[in-house]
Protein backbone atom coordinates (compact mmCIF):
# COMPACT_ATOMS: atom_id res chain seq x y z
CA UNK A 1 0.00 0.00 0.00
CA UNK A 2 1.10 3.50 -0.75
CA UNK A 3 0.65 4.49 2.86
CA UNK A 4 3.25 2.05 3.99
CA UNK A 5 6.05 3.43 1.87
CA UNK A 6 5.13 6.94 2.91
CA UNK A 7 5.23 6.06 6.54
CA UNK A 8 8.47 4.16 6.48
CA UNK A 9 10.44 6.54 4.34
CA UNK A 10 11.51 8.88 7.15
CA UNK A 11 13.11 6.00 9.05
CA UNK A 12 15.51 5.40 6.15
CA UNK A 13 17.03 8.81 6.66
CA UNK A 14 17.02 8.55 10.42
CA UNK A 15 19.88 10.92 10.96
CA UNK A 16 18.06 13.98 9.69
CA UNK A 17 14.56 13.47 10.99
CA UNK A 18 13.73 14.13 14.61
CA UNK A 19 11.19 11.83 16.31
CA UNK A 20 8.72 14.72 16.40
CA UNK A 21 9.02 15.21 12.67
CA UNK A 22 8.65 11.52 12.12
CA UNK A 23 5.42 11.47 14.10
CA UNK A 24 4.24 14.50 12.19
CA UNK A 25 4.91 12.94 8.79
CA UNK A 26 3.46 9.60 9.76
CA UNK A 27 0.41 11.20 11.36
CA UNK A 28 -0.21 13.35 8.31
CA UNK A 29 0.20 10.31 6.07
CA UNK A 30 -2.50 8.49 8.00
CA UNK A 31 -4.90 11.39 7.92
CA UNK A 32 -4.04 12.34 4.33
CA UNK A 33 -7.15 10.67 2.89
CA UNK A 34 -9.24 12.94 5.06
CA UNK A 35 -7.22 16.02 4.07
CA UNK A 36 -7.63 15.24 0.37
CA UNK A 37 -11.32 14.49 0.82
CA UNK A 38 -11.79 17.65 2.86
CA UNK A 39 -10.25 19.75 0.12
CA UNK A 40 -12.18 18.10 -2.74
CA UNK A 41 -15.53 17.47 -1.12
CA UNK A 42 -15.83 20.09 1.63
CA UNK A 43 -13.50 23.09 1.55
CA UNK A 44 -13.34 23.41 -2.24
CA UNK A 45 -17.09 23.04 -2.68
CA UNK A 46 -17.69 25.57 0.11
CA UNK A 47 -15.63 28.13 -1.76
CA UNK A 48 -17.36 27.27 -5.04
CA UNK A 49 -20.75 27.43 -3.38
CA UNK A 50 -19.98 30.83 -1.90
CA UNK A 51 -18.87 31.99 -5.34
CA UNK A 52 -21.94 30.55 -7.06
CA UNK A 53 -24.19 32.29 -4.57
CA UNK A 54 -23.01 35.57 -6.08
CA UNK A 55 -23.94 34.49 -9.60
CA UNK A 56 -26.83 33.62 -11.81
CA UNK A 57 -26.12 30.07 -12.89
CA UNK A 58 -28.38 27.60 -14.71
CA UNK A 59 -25.71 24.87 -15.20
CA UNK A 60 -26.25 25.03 -18.95
CA UNK A 61 -24.61 28.40 -19.46
CA UNK A 62 -21.58 29.93 -17.73
CA UNK A 63 -22.32 31.66 -14.40
CA UNK A 64 -22.94 35.38 -14.51
CA UNK A 65 -21.85 37.59 -11.61
CA UNK A 66 -24.76 39.38 -9.96
CA UNK A 67 -23.28 40.51 -6.64
CA UNK A 68 -25.54 40.13 -3.64
CA UNK A 69 -28.73 39.91 -5.65
CA UNK A 70 -29.42 36.34 -4.55
CA UNK A 71 -29.03 37.31 -0.91
CA UNK A 72 -31.33 40.28 -1.33
CA UNK A 73 -33.83 37.98 -2.91
CA UNK A 74 -33.77 35.78 0.21
CA UNK A 75 -35.44 38.58 2.09
CA UNK A 76 -38.14 39.34 -0.47
CA UNK A 77 -39.10 35.84 -1.62
CA UNK A 78 -42.39 34.99 0.13
CA UNK A 79 -41.87 31.30 -0.50
CA UNK A 80 -38.52 31.32 1.20
CA UNK A 81 -40.15 32.67 4.36
CA UNK A 82 -42.89 30.10 4.03
CA UNK A 83 -40.49 27.20 3.59
CA UNK A 84 -38.37 28.35 6.50
CA UNK A 85 -41.45 28.68 8.70
CA UNK A 86 -42.60 25.21 7.64
CA UNK A 87 -39.27 23.67 8.56
CA UNK A 88 -39.22 25.44 11.94
CA UNK A 89 -42.78 24.44 12.76
CA UNK A 90 -41.94 20.88 11.86
CA UNK A 91 -38.82 20.96 14.05
CA UNK A 92 -40.87 22.35 16.95
CA UNK A 93 -43.36 19.50 16.56
CA UNK A 94 -40.83 16.78 15.89
CA UNK A 95 -38.01 17.41 18.37
CA UNK A 96 -39.96 17.63 21.66
CA UNK A 97 -42.29 14.78 20.73
CA UNK A 98 -39.40 12.50 19.81
CA UNK A 99 -37.62 13.28 23.08
CA UNK A 100 -40.71 12.76 25.21
CA UNK A 101 -41.89 9.58 23.49
CA UNK A 102 -38.40 8.11 23.40
CA UNK A 103 -37.86 8.88 27.07
CA UNK A 104 -41.20 7.35 27.97
CA UNK A 105 -40.46 4.16 26.06
CA UNK A 106 -36.93 3.97 27.46
CA UNK A 107 -38.24 4.34 31.02
CA UNK A 108 -40.69 1.53 30.41
CA UNK A 109 -38.01 -0.67 28.86
CA UNK A 110 -35.69 0.03 31.76
CA UNK A 111 -38.14 -1.60 34.15
CA UNK A 112 -39.03 -4.85 32.44
CA UNK A 113 -35.78 -6.78 32.60
CA UNK A 114 -34.86 -9.27 29.92
CA UNK A 115 -37.93 -8.62 27.83
CA UNK A 116 -36.46 -5.19 27.01
CA UNK A 117 -34.30 -6.76 24.31
CA UNK A 118 -37.32 -7.97 22.39
CA UNK A 119 -39.20 -4.68 22.53
CA UNK A 120 -36.07 -2.71 21.69
CA UNK A 121 -35.75 -4.74 18.49
CA UNK A 122 -39.35 -4.06 17.53
CA UNK A 123 -39.06 -0.34 18.23
CA UNK A 124 -35.97 -0.12 16.09
CA UNK A 125 -37.40 -1.94 13.06
CA UNK A 126 -38.92 1.16 11.42
CA UNK A 127 -35.52 2.86 11.58
CA UNK A 128 -33.98 0.35 9.20
CA UNK A 129 -36.84 0.79 6.74
CA UNK A 130 -35.80 3.00 3.79
CA UNK A 131 -37.32 6.47 4.09
CA UNK A 132 -38.90 6.20 0.64
CA UNK A 133 -40.73 3.05 1.71
CA UNK A 134 -41.75 4.65 5.02
CA UNK A 135 -43.19 7.64 3.21
CA UNK A 136 -45.03 5.51 0.65
CA UNK A 137 -46.54 3.44 3.41
CA UNK A 138 -47.51 6.39 5.59
CA UNK A 139 -49.20 8.14 2.72
CA UNK A 140 -51.84 5.47 3.31
CA UNK A 141 -51.53 5.10 7.07
CA UNK A 142 -52.32 8.83 7.21
CA UNK A 143 -55.02 8.84 4.54
CA UNK A 144 -57.87 10.82 6.12
CA UNK A 145 -60.56 8.47 4.92
CA UNK A 146 -59.20 4.96 5.05
CA UNK A 147 -55.87 5.29 6.87
CA UNK A 148 -55.12 3.29 10.00
CA UNK A 149 -54.61 6.42 12.10
CA UNK A 150 -58.03 7.86 11.46
CA UNK A 151 -59.68 4.47 11.58
CA UNK A 152 -58.08 4.01 14.98
CA UNK A 153 -59.30 7.42 16.11
CA UNK A 154 -62.77 6.55 14.84
CA UNK A 155 -62.77 3.50 17.12
CA UNK A 156 -62.20 5.92 19.99
CA UNK A 157 -65.08 8.01 18.71
CA UNK A 158 -62.93 10.80 17.30
CA UNK A 159 -62.95 12.15 13.80
CA UNK A 160 -59.39 12.28 12.56
CA UNK A 161 -58.06 15.27 10.63
CA UNK A 162 -56.91 15.42 7.00
CA UNK A 163 -53.31 14.45 7.65
CA UNK A 164 -52.36 14.47 3.98
CA UNK A 165 -54.87 16.95 2.60
CA UNK A 166 -55.39 19.69 5.19
CA UNK A 167 -52.57 22.27 5.16
CA UNK A 168 -52.91 22.69 8.93
CA UNK A 169 -52.39 18.98 9.55
CA UNK A 170 -49.68 18.12 7.05
CA UNK A 171 -46.80 18.97 9.37
CA UNK A 172 -48.30 17.20 12.40
CA UNK A 173 -48.86 14.21 10.12
CA UNK A 174 -45.21 14.13 9.08
CA UNK A 175 -44.16 14.57 12.71
CA UNK A 176 -46.36 11.62 13.64
CA UNK A 177 -44.73 9.58 10.92
CA UNK A 178 -41.30 10.59 12.22
CA UNK A 179 -42.25 9.20 15.64
CA UNK A 180 -42.43 5.77 14.09
CA UNK A 181 -38.65 5.97 13.69
CA UNK A 182 -38.06 6.93 17.31
CA UNK A 183 -36.27 3.64 17.98
CA UNK A 184 -32.66 4.80 17.86
CA UNK A 185 -33.35 7.57 20.37
CA UNK A 186 -35.05 5.03 22.67
CA UNK A 187 -31.96 2.80 22.57
CA UNK A 188 -29.72 5.77 23.29
CA UNK A 189 -31.80 6.80 26.31
CA UNK A 190 -32.01 3.24 27.55
CA UNK A 191 -28.22 2.98 27.51
CA UNK A 192 -28.00 6.27 29.41
CA UNK A 193 -30.57 5.11 31.96
CA UNK A 194 -28.56 1.98 32.66
CA UNK A 195 -25.60 4.13 33.60
CA UNK A 196 -27.51 5.94 36.34
CA UNK A 197 -26.15 4.48 39.60
CA UNK A 198 -28.77 2.56 41.47
CA UNK A 199 -27.57 3.85 44.84
CA UNK A 200 -28.94 7.27 44.00
CA UNK A 201 -32.45 5.87 43.71
CA UNK A 202 -32.05 3.96 46.96
CA UNK A 203 -30.92 7.07 48.72
CA UNK A 204 -33.86 8.97 47.29
CA UNK A 205 -36.28 6.27 48.39
CA UNK A 206 -34.92 6.46 51.90
CA UNK A 207 -35.52 10.20 51.78
CA UNK A 208 -39.11 9.42 50.83
CA UNK A 209 -39.03 10.65 47.23
CA UNK A 210 -41.77 9.18 45.03
CA UNK A 211 -41.23 7.89 41.49
CA UNK A 212 -42.10 11.19 39.89
CA UNK A 213 -39.66 13.09 42.08
CA UNK A 214 -37.00 10.49 41.35
CA UNK A 215 -37.54 10.97 37.65
CA UNK A 216 -37.28 14.75 37.84
CA UNK A 217 -34.47 15.00 40.38
CA UNK A 218 -32.29 12.02 39.51
CA UNK A 219 -33.04 10.41 36.19
CA UNK A 220 -33.43 13.42 33.95
CA UNK A 221 -30.49 15.42 35.33
CA UNK A 222 -28.24 12.40 35.06
CA UNK A 223 -29.13 11.61 31.49
CA UNK A 224 -29.34 15.28 30.49
CA UNK A 225 -26.14 15.14 28.39
CA UNK A 226 -27.77 12.44 26.25
CA UNK A 227 -30.99 14.42 26.01
CA UNK A 228 -29.00 17.46 25.01
CA UNK A 229 -27.18 15.47 22.35
CA UNK A 230 -30.45 14.23 20.84
CA UNK A 231 -31.88 17.73 21.03
CA UNK A 232 -29.08 19.11 18.86
CA UNK A 233 -28.93 16.21 16.43
CA UNK A 234 -32.69 16.08 15.96
CA UNK A 235 -33.03 19.83 15.53
CA UNK A 236 -30.39 19.89 12.81
CA UNK A 237 -31.95 16.83 11.19
CA UNK A 238 -35.51 18.18 11.35
CA UNK A 239 -34.56 21.46 9.69
CA UNK A 240 -33.16 19.47 6.78
CA UNK A 241 -36.00 16.98 6.27
CA UNK A 242 -36.25 16.08 2.59
CA UNK A 243 -36.66 12.46 1.50
CA UNK A 244 -39.93 11.63 3.26
CA UNK A 245 -41.69 14.80 2.15
CA UNK A 246 -40.28 14.65 -1.35
CA UNK A 247 -41.53 11.09 -1.71
CA UNK A 248 -44.98 11.84 -0.38
CA UNK A 249 -45.79 15.09 -2.08
CA UNK A 250 -43.29 15.98 -4.80
CA UNK A 251 -41.61 14.52 -7.85
CA UNK A 252 -44.25 13.54 -10.36
CA UNK A 253 -46.95 13.58 -7.73
CA UNK A 254 -49.66 16.19 -7.86
CA UNK A 255 -48.68 18.14 -4.80
CA UNK A 256 -52.06 19.60 -3.87
CA UNK A 257 -52.25 20.72 -0.28
CA UNK A 258 -48.55 20.12 0.23
CA UNK A 259 -47.48 22.68 -2.35
CA UNK A 260 -47.44 25.34 0.33
CA UNK A 261 -47.90 23.59 3.68
CA UNK A 262 -45.40 20.86 2.75
CA UNK A 263 -42.86 23.12 1.10
CA UNK A 264 -39.95 22.53 3.47
CA UNK A 265 -36.71 24.42 3.20
CA UNK A 266 -34.62 21.70 1.57
CA UNK A 267 -37.43 20.80 -0.82
CA UNK A 268 -37.66 24.40 -1.96
CA UNK A 269 -33.89 24.56 -2.28
CA UNK A 270 -33.80 21.37 -4.34
CA UNK A 271 -36.54 22.62 -6.65
CA UNK A 272 -34.83 25.99 -7.12
CA UNK A 273 -31.63 24.20 -8.06
CA UNK A 274 -32.77 21.29 -10.16
CA UNK A 275 -36.20 22.27 -11.47
CA UNK A 276 -36.00 26.03 -11.88
CA UNK A 277 -32.27 25.99 -12.72
CA UNK A 278 -31.34 28.63 -10.16
CA UNK A 279 -28.10 27.22 -8.82
CA UNK A 280 -26.93 30.62 -7.60
CA UNK A 281 -30.04 31.28 -5.57
CA UNK A 282 -30.03 27.72 -4.24
CA UNK A 283 -26.45 28.22 -3.09
CA UNK A 284 -27.41 31.39 -1.24
CA UNK A 285 -30.26 29.45 0.37
CA UNK A 286 -27.82 26.77 1.48
CA UNK A 287 -25.61 29.35 3.18
CA UNK A 288 -28.59 30.86 4.95
CA UNK A 289 -29.45 27.42 6.30
CA UNK A 290 -25.89 26.88 7.47
CA UNK A 291 -25.95 30.23 9.24
CA UNK A 292 -29.26 29.42 10.93
CA UNK A 293 -28.02 26.04 12.12
CA UNK A 294 -24.86 27.62 13.51
CA UNK A 295 -26.83 30.19 15.46
CA UNK A 296 -29.31 27.64 16.76
CA UNK A 297 -26.58 25.30 17.91
CA UNK A 298 -24.76 28.18 19.57
CA UNK A 299 -27.91 29.17 21.45
CA UNK A 300 -28.57 25.59 22.48
CA UNK A 301 -25.00 25.26 23.74
CA UNK A 302 -25.33 28.45 25.80
CA UNK A 303 -28.68 27.50 27.26
CA UNK A 304 -27.52 23.96 27.93
CA UNK A 305 -25.09 25.20 30.56
CA UNK A 306 -28.08 25.90 32.75
CA UNK A 307 -29.71 22.49 32.56
CA UNK A 308 -27.28 19.89 31.35
CA UNK A 309 -25.53 18.09 34.17
CA UNK A 310 -21.99 16.94 33.54
CA UNK A 311 -20.35 14.65 36.02
CA UNK A 312 -17.48 16.25 37.82
CA UNK A 313 -18.57 19.79 37.04
Amino acid sequence: MATKSLVTRPSVRQGRVTPQQRELFAGLAFISPWIIGFLIFTAGPMVISLGLSLTDYDVLNPPEFVGFENYQRLFTDPRLGLSLANSFIYALLHVPSVIIVALGLALLLNRVGRAAGFFRTIFYLPSVTPAVAVATLWLWILNPRIGLVNQGLALLGMQGPGWTTDPVWIKPGIALMSLWAVGSTVILYLAALKNVPNELYEAARIDGANSWQQLLRITIPLISPTIFFTLIVNTIGALQIFTEVYTMFFGNMSSGAASSAGLFYNIYLFRQAFEFLRMGYASAMAWLLFFIILILTFIQLRVSKRWVYYEGS
Binding site: G27, F38, T136, L289
Partner: protein, 300 residues
Protein backbone atom coordinates in the same frame (compact mmCIF):
# COMPACT_ATOMS: atom_id res chain seq x y z
CA UNK B 1 -16.98 0.79 25.78
CA UNK B 2 -19.44 -1.52 24.14
CA UNK B 3 -21.67 -2.92 26.81
CA UNK B 4 -23.34 -6.16 26.18
CA UNK B 5 -24.74 -8.30 28.91
CA UNK B 6 -26.10 -5.25 30.66
CA UNK B 7 -29.37 -7.02 30.95
CA UNK B 8 -28.04 -9.28 33.65
CA UNK B 9 -26.97 -6.24 35.64
CA UNK B 10 -30.42 -4.89 35.15
CA UNK B 11 -31.90 -8.13 36.36
CA UNK B 12 -29.83 -7.93 39.47
CA UNK B 13 -31.06 -4.40 40.04
CA UNK B 14 -34.62 -5.47 39.66
CA UNK B 15 -34.24 -8.33 42.02
CA UNK B 16 -32.63 -6.18 44.64
CA UNK B 17 -35.53 -4.33 46.24
CA UNK B 18 -37.27 -7.46 47.36
CA UNK B 19 -36.71 -7.86 51.05
CA UNK B 20 -40.32 -7.36 52.00
CA UNK B 21 -43.20 -9.19 50.45
CA UNK B 22 -45.64 -6.26 49.76
CA UNK B 23 -43.09 -4.33 47.75
CA UNK B 24 -42.35 -7.37 45.72
CA UNK B 25 -46.03 -7.89 44.89
CA UNK B 26 -46.35 -4.22 44.07
CA UNK B 27 -43.19 -4.43 41.97
CA UNK B 28 -44.52 -7.37 40.01
CA UNK B 29 -47.79 -5.57 39.46
CA UNK B 30 -46.03 -2.46 38.19
CA UNK B 31 -43.89 -4.57 35.94
CA UNK B 32 -47.01 -6.22 34.55
CA UNK B 33 -48.52 -2.83 33.84
CA UNK B 34 -45.33 -1.74 32.11
CA UNK B 35 -45.24 -4.91 30.08
CA UNK B 36 -48.84 -4.35 29.06
CA UNK B 37 -48.04 -0.80 27.94
CA UNK B 38 -45.05 -2.05 25.98
CA UNK B 39 -47.10 -4.71 24.25
CA UNK B 40 -49.57 -2.00 23.32
CA UNK B 41 -46.74 0.12 21.87
CA UNK B 42 -45.41 -2.93 20.05
CA UNK B 43 -48.74 -3.35 18.34
CA UNK B 44 -48.68 0.32 17.32
CA UNK B 45 -45.16 -0.05 15.94
CA UNK B 46 -45.91 -3.24 14.04
CA UNK B 47 -49.32 -2.26 12.68
CA UNK B 48 -47.97 -0.31 9.68
CA UNK B 49 -45.75 -3.24 8.69
CA UNK B 50 -48.61 -5.68 8.95
CA UNK B 51 -50.86 -3.36 6.96
CA UNK B 52 -48.15 -3.00 4.30
CA UNK B 53 -47.54 -6.71 3.84
CA UNK B 54 -51.25 -7.47 3.89
CA UNK B 55 -52.20 -4.72 1.42
CA UNK B 56 -49.37 -5.68 -0.92
CA UNK B 57 -51.02 -9.09 -1.27
CA UNK B 58 -54.48 -7.79 -2.05
CA UNK B 59 -56.15 -7.26 -5.39
CA UNK B 60 -56.69 -3.77 -6.76
CA UNK B 61 -60.30 -3.71 -5.65
CA UNK B 62 -59.46 -4.74 -2.11
CA UNK B 63 -56.14 -3.07 -1.50
CA UNK B 64 -57.60 -0.47 0.85
CA UNK B 65 -60.26 -2.54 2.59
CA UNK B 66 -58.17 -2.69 5.80
CA UNK B 67 -58.92 -6.38 6.35
CA UNK B 68 -56.14 -8.10 8.27
CA UNK B 69 -55.79 -11.02 5.85
CA UNK B 70 -55.87 -10.64 2.08
CA UNK B 71 -58.60 -12.67 0.45
CA UNK B 72 -57.92 -13.72 -2.24
CA UNK B 73 -54.13 -13.62 -1.87
CA UNK B 74 -52.78 -11.74 -4.88
CA UNK B 75 -49.26 -13.14 -5.26
CA UNK B 76 -49.34 -11.83 -8.81
CA UNK B 77 -48.60 -8.31 -7.51
CA UNK B 78 -45.09 -9.43 -6.74
CA UNK B 79 -44.68 -11.19 -10.07
CA UNK B 80 -46.04 -8.13 -11.81
CA UNK B 81 -43.74 -5.63 -10.15
CA UNK B 82 -40.80 -7.92 -10.81
CA UNK B 83 -41.66 -7.88 -14.50
CA UNK B 84 -42.71 -4.24 -14.78
CA UNK B 85 -39.52 -2.87 -13.24
CA UNK B 86 -35.92 -4.07 -13.22
CA UNK B 87 -36.06 -4.86 -9.50
CA UNK B 88 -33.22 -7.35 -9.69
CA UNK B 89 -30.92 -4.82 -11.35
CA UNK B 90 -31.82 -2.22 -8.73
CA UNK B 91 -31.21 -4.75 -5.96
CA UNK B 92 -27.80 -5.52 -7.40
CA UNK B 93 -26.94 -1.82 -7.72
CA UNK B 94 -27.96 -1.20 -4.12
CA UNK B 95 -25.82 -4.10 -2.97
CA UNK B 96 -22.79 -3.00 -4.98
CA UNK B 97 -23.04 0.60 -3.81
CA UNK B 98 -23.75 -0.46 -0.23
CA UNK B 99 -20.79 -2.79 0.02
CA UNK B 100 -18.37 -0.40 -1.70
CA UNK B 101 -19.54 2.56 0.36
CA UNK B 102 -19.28 0.65 3.64
CA UNK B 103 -15.94 -0.99 2.88
CA UNK B 104 -14.45 2.31 1.72
CA UNK B 105 -15.61 4.26 4.74
CA UNK B 106 -14.60 1.56 7.23
CA UNK B 107 -11.02 1.25 6.00
CA UNK B 108 -10.45 4.96 5.43
CA UNK B 109 -11.95 6.04 8.76
CA UNK B 110 -9.95 3.43 10.61
CA UNK B 111 -6.71 4.74 9.06
CA UNK B 112 -7.59 8.37 9.60
CA UNK B 113 -8.74 7.83 13.16
CA UNK B 114 -5.45 6.09 13.88
CA UNK B 115 -3.65 9.13 12.55
CA UNK B 116 -5.64 11.32 14.90
CA UNK B 117 -5.10 9.18 18.01
CA UNK B 118 -1.73 7.48 18.08
CA UNK B 119 0.45 10.22 16.66
CA UNK B 120 1.21 13.39 18.56
CA UNK B 121 2.07 16.40 16.47
CA UNK B 122 1.41 20.07 16.42
CA UNK B 123 -1.90 21.11 14.92
CA UNK B 124 -3.42 17.66 15.35
CA UNK B 125 -6.17 18.78 17.67
CA UNK B 126 -6.94 21.78 15.50
CA UNK B 127 -7.31 19.50 12.50
CA UNK B 128 -9.46 17.13 14.51
CA UNK B 129 -11.61 20.07 15.54
CA UNK B 130 -12.03 20.76 11.84
CA UNK B 131 -13.16 17.15 11.32
CA UNK B 132 -15.83 17.62 13.97
CA UNK B 133 -16.83 21.01 12.60
CA UNK B 134 -17.62 19.53 9.19
CA UNK B 135 -20.43 17.59 10.83
CA UNK B 136 -22.24 20.87 11.31
CA UNK B 137 -22.21 21.69 7.61
CA UNK B 138 -25.57 21.01 5.99
CA UNK B 139 -25.25 18.72 2.99
CA UNK B 140 -27.00 21.23 0.74
CA UNK B 141 -24.10 23.68 0.96
CA UNK B 142 -21.81 21.33 -0.90
CA UNK B 143 -24.50 19.55 -2.94
CA UNK B 144 -24.22 21.64 -6.12
CA UNK B 145 -20.40 22.07 -6.19
CA UNK B 146 -19.85 18.37 -5.46
CA UNK B 147 -22.13 17.65 -8.37
CA UNK B 148 -19.90 19.89 -10.49
CA UNK B 149 -16.82 18.05 -9.22
CA UNK B 150 -18.21 14.69 -10.30
CA UNK B 151 -19.27 16.20 -13.58
CA UNK B 152 -15.76 17.40 -14.29
CA UNK B 153 -14.59 13.85 -13.61
CA UNK B 154 -17.17 12.53 -16.06
CA UNK B 155 -18.92 10.47 -13.39
CA UNK B 156 -22.50 11.67 -13.80
CA UNK B 157 -24.86 8.79 -14.48
CA UNK B 158 -22.48 6.28 -12.94
CA UNK B 159 -22.57 4.66 -9.51
CA UNK B 160 -19.21 6.18 -8.52
CA UNK B 161 -20.47 9.40 -6.83
CA UNK B 162 -22.64 7.24 -4.57
CA UNK B 163 -19.71 5.67 -2.79
CA UNK B 164 -16.30 6.96 -3.88
CA UNK B 165 -16.24 10.01 -1.57
CA UNK B 166 -16.25 7.48 1.28
CA UNK B 167 -12.65 6.64 0.39
CA UNK B 168 -11.76 9.89 2.14
CA UNK B 169 -13.43 9.13 5.43
CA UNK B 170 -16.47 10.52 7.14
CA UNK B 171 -16.33 12.80 10.16
CA UNK B 172 -18.67 10.97 12.47
CA UNK B 173 -17.11 7.55 11.98
CA UNK B 174 -13.61 9.01 12.38
CA UNK B 175 -14.71 10.47 15.68
CA UNK B 176 -16.25 7.21 16.76
CA UNK B 177 -13.32 4.93 15.89
CA UNK B 178 -10.92 7.41 17.45
CA UNK B 179 -12.80 7.03 20.73
CA UNK B 180 -12.07 3.31 20.55
CA UNK B 181 -8.39 3.86 19.83
CA UNK B 182 -8.08 6.23 22.76
CA UNK B 183 -9.29 3.38 24.95
CA UNK B 184 -6.38 1.15 23.88
CA UNK B 185 -3.31 1.23 26.17
CA UNK B 186 -0.39 3.00 24.51
CA UNK B 187 2.11 0.45 25.86
CA UNK B 188 0.70 -2.07 23.43
CA UNK B 189 1.97 0.00 20.52
CA UNK B 190 5.21 1.05 22.13
CA UNK B 191 6.14 -2.58 22.71
CA UNK B 192 5.57 -3.35 19.05
CA UNK B 193 7.60 -0.30 18.04
CA UNK B 194 10.51 -1.58 20.06
CA UNK B 195 10.16 -4.86 18.17
CA UNK B 196 10.61 -2.90 14.96
CA UNK B 197 7.04 -2.70 13.69
CA UNK B 198 6.32 0.09 11.21
CA UNK B 199 3.52 2.55 11.90
CA UNK B 200 1.46 0.87 9.27
CA UNK B 201 1.96 -2.45 11.05
CA UNK B 202 0.79 -0.88 14.31
CA UNK B 203 -2.46 -0.06 12.65
CA UNK B 204 -2.82 -3.29 10.71
CA UNK B 205 -1.62 -5.82 13.29
CA UNK B 206 -2.69 -4.22 16.56
CA UNK B 207 -5.26 -1.45 16.15
CA UNK B 208 -7.37 -3.04 13.44
CA UNK B 209 -8.08 -6.38 15.14
CA UNK B 210 -8.71 -4.77 18.52
CA UNK B 211 -11.38 -2.47 17.10
CA UNK B 212 -13.12 -5.13 15.09
CA UNK B 213 -16.46 -4.57 16.78
CA UNK B 214 -16.36 -0.85 16.12
CA UNK B 215 -15.51 -1.45 12.49
CA UNK B 216 -18.43 -3.81 12.06
CA UNK B 217 -20.69 -1.16 13.58
CA UNK B 218 -19.34 1.42 11.12
CA UNK B 219 -19.78 -0.99 8.23
CA UNK B 220 -23.39 -1.85 8.91
CA UNK B 221 -24.44 1.71 9.68
CA UNK B 222 -22.91 2.98 6.48
CA UNK B 223 -24.54 0.10 4.65
CA UNK B 224 -27.89 1.11 6.10
CA UNK B 225 -27.31 4.75 5.23
CA UNK B 226 -26.37 3.85 1.69
CA UNK B 227 -29.26 1.41 1.30
CA UNK B 228 -31.84 3.98 2.34
CA UNK B 229 -30.41 7.07 0.61
CA UNK B 230 -32.53 8.81 -1.99
CA UNK B 231 -30.80 12.15 -2.48
CA UNK B 232 -27.57 11.08 -4.14
CA UNK B 233 -29.20 8.63 -6.56
CA UNK B 234 -31.75 11.33 -7.36
CA UNK B 235 -29.02 13.76 -8.34
CA UNK B 236 -26.57 11.43 -10.06
CA UNK B 237 -28.53 8.67 -11.77
CA UNK B 238 -30.61 9.06 -14.91
CA UNK B 239 -30.40 5.63 -16.47
CA UNK B 240 -33.08 3.28 -15.14
CA UNK B 241 -30.62 0.42 -15.13
CA UNK B 242 -28.38 2.29 -12.70
CA UNK B 243 -31.10 3.09 -10.14
CA UNK B 244 -30.75 1.90 -6.59
CA UNK B 245 -33.79 0.54 -4.78
CA UNK B 246 -34.99 3.79 -3.11
CA UNK B 247 -34.89 5.71 -6.40
CA UNK B 248 -36.48 2.74 -8.13
CA UNK B 249 -39.27 2.73 -5.56
CA UNK B 250 -39.82 6.45 -6.05
CA UNK B 251 -40.07 5.90 -9.82
CA UNK B 252 -42.54 3.07 -9.27
CA UNK B 253 -44.52 5.35 -6.99
CA UNK B 254 -44.58 8.01 -9.70
CA UNK B 255 -45.49 5.52 -12.40
CA UNK B 256 -48.02 3.35 -10.59
CA UNK B 257 -49.15 5.56 -7.72
CA UNK B 258 -50.73 8.96 -7.42
CA UNK B 259 -50.76 10.86 -10.68
CA UNK B 260 -49.86 7.61 -12.42
CA UNK B 261 -51.82 4.45 -12.93
CA UNK B 262 -53.07 4.20 -9.35
CA UNK B 263 -52.07 0.57 -9.01
CA UNK B 264 -51.24 0.96 -5.36
CA UNK B 265 -50.96 -2.77 -4.71
CA UNK B 266 -47.96 -2.81 -7.08
CA UNK B 267 -46.35 0.15 -5.30
CA UNK B 268 -46.86 -1.53 -1.94
CA UNK B 269 -45.39 -4.82 -3.17
CA UNK B 270 -42.33 -2.90 -4.34
CA UNK B 271 -42.11 -1.22 -0.92
CA UNK B 272 -42.00 -4.63 0.73
CA UNK B 273 -39.24 -5.78 -1.63
CA UNK B 274 -37.20 -2.66 -0.85
CA UNK B 275 -37.67 -3.07 2.90
CA UNK B 276 -37.14 -6.80 3.45
CA UNK B 277 -33.38 -7.09 2.70
CA UNK B 278 -32.55 -4.39 5.25
CA UNK B 279 -34.72 -6.05 7.88
CA UNK B 280 -32.94 -9.37 7.30
CA UNK B 281 -29.58 -7.65 7.65
CA UNK B 282 -30.84 -5.97 10.77
CA UNK B 283 -31.78 -9.26 12.39
CA UNK B 284 -28.42 -10.77 11.51
CA UNK B 285 -26.42 -7.81 12.79
CA UNK B 286 -28.84 -6.76 15.50
CA UNK B 287 -26.27 -6.75 18.28
CA UNK B 288 -24.07 -4.33 16.40
CA UNK B 289 -26.92 -1.99 15.60
CA UNK B 290 -27.92 -1.81 19.25
CA UNK B 291 -24.39 -1.39 20.55
CA UNK B 292 -23.57 1.12 17.85
CA UNK B 293 -26.41 3.42 18.80
CA UNK B 294 -26.04 2.96 22.54
CA UNK B 295 -22.35 3.83 22.58
CA UNK B 296 -22.12 6.51 19.95
CA UNK B 297 -25.53 7.98 19.40
CA UNK B 298 -25.49 7.27 15.68
CA UNK B 299 -28.72 8.58 14.35
CA UNK B 300 -29.98 5.28 13.06
Amino acid sequence: MINTGNDSVLQAQLREPAPRQPIRVRGTLIKAVFLFLLVLCTILFLAPFIWLVSASLKTRAEVFNNELLPNPVAWQNYIYVWQAAPMLTWLRNSLVVGVLASAAVTVSCSLIAFGFSYFRFRGRDTLFGLVLATMMLPGVVTMIPVFLVWRSLGQINTLTPLWASNLFGSAFYIFMIRQFYLGLPRELFEAARVDGASYFDLWRVIALPLTRTALIVVFIFEFKASWTDLVKPLIYLQNTNLFTLPLGLKSILDQFGQGGEMQWEVVLAASVIVTVPMIIIFFIGQRYFMDGIATTGIKG
